[in-house]
Amino acid sequence: MAAGLTYEESKKVVWRGFWLLGAITIVEVAIALVGNGHVIDGFRLPIYVMYPLMIGLSAYKAYFIVKEFMHMGHEVRDLAMSVLLPLLLLVWAIIAFLWEGAVWGERRTLIKEKDAIETGKKTGSILQAPEDIPTMITFTK
């Protein structure tokens, strides 16, 4: 049983958790629906407001599940640290790989622009004037 709690008290913690997780989920979905213009006609939230809110609320849900439902908050410190510290590697992984993904996208755009110049084809809004195009990659035929 959770540290020092009576049976009745632990039952309360569980149902509080249910309402908390349910309420957060509803708030998240409400942010998505209002933010994407489904509720109020013509009203949208910018993603730099929506995304941090959604990510923050989800992180709190995860924290609550691990701490209360999985009882990590009541385990000894050495156990908690042996499980939680390795997860810090993910901080690096997320930053590194999202960065890498963005670079792939930039490279693909660049190559498409270069291809458009080579074939003399104008491709929509991407290509404005040849002197705008970066010249980092050279193609040999």
Binding site: A32, A93, F97, G124
Partner: protein, 284 residues
């Protein structure tokens, strides 16, 4: 096995001396059984597996200019059809939260050595897990058989420029309909072939709709499928353990139904993973 007296001595030892003495033998430094500890480390490794999948999703999403819009892709409801963005997946999330709550209750009844209570709450947890799988089956069916999404075809596109349709698709889009940059669209199949629509961009150029980012289908089916497989395995193990509980197998052990507690850790982990799957696929 330490006898009663040595265990007591060790406890005194711990209180009298420095903190590090937990690791000098005789007591369990993590204050957890081998099985529970190993469940935690399995879940840690599983967290890395899921993180690998989700980071791959993020990387590919960052590498393309547009991405399928969640509230456009996920808007089907059973019996009611299309037009209910994110409602069904919110219900699925609730089902999983409820089954997590019933699981905690099963663990609590286990601590009180209340056999019937454990069986009752585990049975509800199994129902929740099965309901979630049923919902997922509906969702996959809608995407595969009605919207024709596959591992390699993603019919959910996004306009990158504003313009006017030059043809209709017989599914609500008519000639002359206008669209803005960022508006999502679904490419319908006619006679087994995707039917792309010609449009005239506001810049004057004529273009045609295309399929969405190719990786979307594979990422969606692999990640939600891997999660769903965890739910399925969870349901199977819950069933086995529930039958063991009912048969009285754990009564003799007098360890507060620790097997149920370990199962609970796994089940909450599945809920935990869903928090992130829900975030990246349905909210962002």
């Amino acid at each position: 096995m330490a006898t009663e007296t040595t265990a007591v001595e060790h406890h005194h030892h711990e209180e009298d001396h420095s903190k590090g003495s937990d690791w000098s033998g005789g007591v369990s430094p993590m204050n957890a059984s081998y099985g529970k500890l190993m469940m935690w480390y399995f879940l840690l490794s599983d967290a890395f597996t899921f993180a690998g999948f989700l980071i791959a999703y993020g990387t590919l999403r960052f590498s393309v200019p547009t991405w399928p819009v969640p509230d456009f892709v996920f808007q089907a409801l059973p019996f009611l059809g299309q037009g209910y963005p994110l409602i069904f997946v919110t219900f699925m999330t609730f089902v999983l939260i409820v089954s997590s709550v019933t699981m905690v209750r099963a663990v609590q009844e286990g601590h009180r050595e209340n056999k019937n209570g454990v069986v009752f709450w585990m049975a509800l947890t199994i129902l929740g897990g099965a309901a979630f799988l049923g919902c997922q089956a509906f969702e996959w069916n809608a995407l595969i058989n009605h919207e024709h999404m596959s591992l390699t075809d993603d019919p959910f596109g996004t306009h990158t420029v504003a313009g006017t349709y030059l043809e209709g698709d017989g599914h609500g889009i008519n000639v002359g309909d206008k669209f803005k940059a960022g508006d999502p669209y679904l490419v319908h199949k006619h006679d087994g072939e995707f039917h792309f629509l010609k449009y005239k961009a506001d810049s004057g150029e004529v273009g045609s709709t295309t399929l969405g980012p190719k990786a979307f289908g594979a990422l969606f089916f692999f990640i939600t499928g891997f999660h769903g497989f965890h739910v399925f395995s969870g349901v199977v193990f819950l069933l086995i353990i529930m039958m063991n509980v009912a048969s009285g197998l754990y009564v003799e052990r007098r360890n507060g139904y620790e097997m149920v507690e370990k199962m609970g850790l796994y089940w909450h982990f599945v809920d935990l993973v869903w928090v992130f799957v829900f975030l990246v696929f349905y909210l962002l």
